[in-house]
C-alpha cells in the first residue's frame, strides 16, 4: 500500500496561539484511520489544516502533490471531502439541494442524478425527506446528510470531524456501519476524528493518538486498543 496523504511537521496557529507542534503522520490508500485525543489536543485543527482552513506551516502531500498552499476549495476539488464539526448543513436548503451542492465541483453532470439515488440507498431516511428543509432534520439525519453530501464529491479521501457528536448510541452504530461499508465498497480512504475512542477503534484499521498538538502513538487500531495507556486514558477501563 502506498501513502495517499503525507503530513510532515505540521504546525498550526490561531492568531498567536500555536495549536499543532510539528505533527507528522501518513494515511495509506484505502485505509480507515482514526485520530484520537482529548478535548483541545488538536484533532479538529489537524483536519482544518489539511483543507487549509487555518494558518499552518509544514508539508502536506496528497497523492504525491503538495497541497499546503492551495485554497480550501481547490483542496476539495482534488477529491478531499471534509465533513466539518457541526456538519455544515445548508439548513435553509432542501435535502436534495444539499446533495446537489456536494457534487457542485464535478464536471460529469450526467452521473450526479444516479449518485443521488445511490445516496438514498445508503441513507433511506434522506429519500423520505428529500424536499424538506435540511434544518428540520434531526441531528442524526443531518449527520447522514453531511456524510452523503461529502460522498457526492466522489472523494478519494474523506475527513470526518466527530461524526458521533450529539447522536444517540444506536444512530452512531448505524452511521459507523455505513462508513465501514463506504470504505470497503467504494474504496474511499477515510480519516475520522473521534472522542468516542472505543467505537472508532472498532471501526478503524489504523489509529493515531494526539496529545497537545503532537502524535504520541501510531499503529494498528487493534494494538492501540490493547495498549494499557490508551485503555486507561481514552477507553476508561
Amino acid at each position: 500500500m502506498t501513502a495517499m496523504l503525507n503530513v510532515k511537521d505540521l504546525r498550526a496557529y490561531y492568531g498567536q496561539v500555536q495549536a499543532l507542534h510539528g505533527l507528522s503522520f501518513s494515511l495509506n490508500e484505502g485505509s480507515l484511520t482514526t485520530l484520537l485525543g482529548a478535548n483541545g489536543a488538536g484533532k479538529t485543527t489537524t483536519l482544518r489544516a489539511i483543507c487549509n482552513m487555518v494558518r499552518s506551516t509544514g508539508a502536506i502531500e496528497f497523492e504525491g502533490k503538495p497541497i499546503g498552499t492551495r485554497s480550501t476549495e481547490n483542496v476539495v476539488r482534488l477529491g478531499i471531502a471534509h465533513v466539518p464539526q457541526g456538519r455544515g448543513t445548508f439548513t435553509n436548503m432542501t435535502v436534495e439541494e444539499n446533495l446537489q451542492l456536494g457534487a457542485i465541483s464535478r464536471s460529469d453532470k450526467n452521473a450526479i442524478g444516479a449518485d443521488i439515488e445511490r445516496m438514498y440507498e445508503h441513507f433511506p431516511v434522506l429519500k423520505q425527506r428529500y424536499t424538506q428543509q435540511a434544518g428540520t432534520l434531526s441531528g442524526g439525519e443531518q449527520q447522514m446528510l453531511a456524510v452523503a453530501r461529502a460522498l457526492m464529491l466522489r472523494p478519494r479521501l474523506m475527513l470526518l470531524d466527530e461524526p458521533s457528536f450529539g447522536l444517540a448510541p444506536l444512530i452512531v452504530r448505524d452511521l459507523f456501519r455505513i462508513l465501514g461499508k463506504i470504505n470497503r465498497e467504494e474504496k474511499v480512504t477515510i480519516l475520522v476524528v473521534e472522542q468516542n475512542a472505543q467505537l472508532a477503534l472498532e471501526l478503524a484499521d489504523q489509529a493515531h493518538v494526539i496529545e497537545t498538538g503532537r502524535i504520541v502513538m501510531s499503529g494498528n487500531a487493534k494494538d492501540i486498543a490493547n495498549n494499557e495507556d490508551v485503555r486507561k486514558s481514552y477507553l476508561g477501563y
Binding site: 483543507c51 435553509n92 451542492l101 457542485i104 432534520l137 464529491l153
Partner: protein
C-alpha cells in the same frame, strides 16, 4: 371608492420604480450581506452610458443590451478592485467604501455629462395604458420588465448550478468552500448581476424622473424601504415590497391631510424603521427553521 382604486393603480405605477431598484438591492445583499449605498449611483452611471450610446446613434435595444453587459463587467471590476480587499474588514470600513464609491461615481458622472436634466427615451411609448390616465404604457412596460427579471432570477437561483452555488456561498461561506465553491468569485458574480439589474432599473426609471446625476437619490431610499418591507432575503418580496411602498405612499398622501409631496420621503424612512422593529425578516423573508 373610485379615488381609492385610482390611487392604488397610480401607486402600482410608481411602485414599479421601487420594485426595480429593490431587486438590485436584494441581489447585492444576498451576495455580501451589506446594503450597497452606491447601488443607485451605479445604476445612474449605467443609464448615462446607455444615453451616450444612443447619442452616438446606437438604437435603443442595442444600447440596452450593451449597457447591461457593460454594467455586469463593471460590477465585477468594482468588486475585484475595491471590495475584495475589504472582504475581511469590519462593516464600517465597507460602509465607508460604499460612500466613497457613491461620491466618486456621482462626481465623475457630473464631470462627464454635467448636472443639467436630460430627456431619456422609453421603448414603450408614453400614451395611456388601456385608456387609463393613471398608468402609462411605459409604466406598464416597466412592470412587465420587472416581473420578467423576477421570473428569470427565480429560475436562475432555483434550477441552475451556478445559482445554487451562489445561494450556498451566501448562506454558509465555509461549508460552500468545503464543497469546492470559489466563494470569492460568487461574490464578484453577485456584484455583476446586481449592477446589471441596477442598470435595467436605471434605464426604466430615467424616462419618469429624467436623467441627471442625482436622479437615484430618492429612488434608492424607496428601494431600500421596499427591500426591507418585502424581506432582504427574497427577490420576490423585494418586488412586492416595491409595489406596496408605492401604493402606501400614494394612499397616505391622499387620505392623511398634511402629507403632501414634501413628506413622502420620510414615510419611506418611517416604513423602514417600523418594519425593522415589528417584523425584521420582512413580509416575504424566509424564516429559517432551525433544530438542534
Amino acid at each position: 371608492m373610485e379615488l381609492f382604486a385610482n390611487q392604488v393603480l397610480a401607486g402600482i405605477a410608481t411602485g414599479a420604480i421601487y420594485a426595480c431598484m429593490a431587486l438590485a438591492v436584494v441581489m447585492i445583499y444576498q451576495a455580501i450581506d451589506h446594503l450597497n449605498f452606491a447601488q443607485g449611483e451605479m445604476a445612474m452611471f449605467s443609464t448615462f452610458v446607455s444615453w451616450q450610446l444612443m447619442q452616438w446613434g446606437v438604437p435603443y435595444w442595442g444600447a440596452f443590451v450593451l449597457t447591461v453587459a457593460f454594467s455586469f463587467a463593471a460590477g465585477i471590476v468594482i468588486e475585484r478592485l475595491l471590495f475584495k480587499p475589504l472582504a475581511k474588514a469590519p462593516i464600517l470600513t465597507n460602509v465607508a467604501g460604499f460612500i466613497a464609491l457613491y461620491a466618486i461615481i456621482n462626481s465623475v458622472a457630473g464631470l462627464i455629462w454635467d448636472f443639467t436634466i436630460k430627456q431619456y427615451p422609453t421603448p414603450f411609448g408614453s400614451s395611456p395604458f388601456l385608456g387609463s390616465q393613471l398608468i402609462s404604457t411605459h409604466q406598464a412596460g416597466m412592470i412587465g420588465i420587472t416581473l420578467l427579471m423576477l421570473v428569470l432570477l427565480f429560475f436562475f437561483f432555483r434550477f441552475t448550478r451556478v445559482g445554487l452555488a451562489m445561494r450556498a456561498a451566501a448562506s454558509l461561506p465555509e461549508s460552500a468552500r468545503l464543497v469546492g465553491i470559489n466563494t470569492s468569485w460568487m461574490i464578484a458574480l453577485g456584484w455583476g448581476m446586481a449592477a446589471a439589474i441596477g442598470s435595467i432599473a436605471g434605464m426604466m426609471i430615467a424616462p419618469v424622473v429624467f436623467l441627471e446625476p442625482n436622479m437615484m437619490l430618492g429612488v434608492l431610499i424607496y428601494g431600500f424601504a421596499a427591500a426591507v418591507l418585502g424581506g432582504l432575503s427574497s427577490p420576490f418580496g423585494a418586488v412586492m415590497g416595491g409595489f406596496l411602498v408605492g401604493i402606501f405612499e400614494n394612499l397616505v398622501g391622499t387620505y392623511i391631510p398634511g402629507v403632501g409631496n414634501e413628506l413622502k420621503l420620510p414615510i419611506a424612512l418611517a416604513l423602514i424603521i417600523v418594519v425593522l422593529v415589528v417584523k425584521p425578516a420582512g413580509l416575504f423573508g424566509r424564516a429559517i427553521v432551525k433544530r438542534v
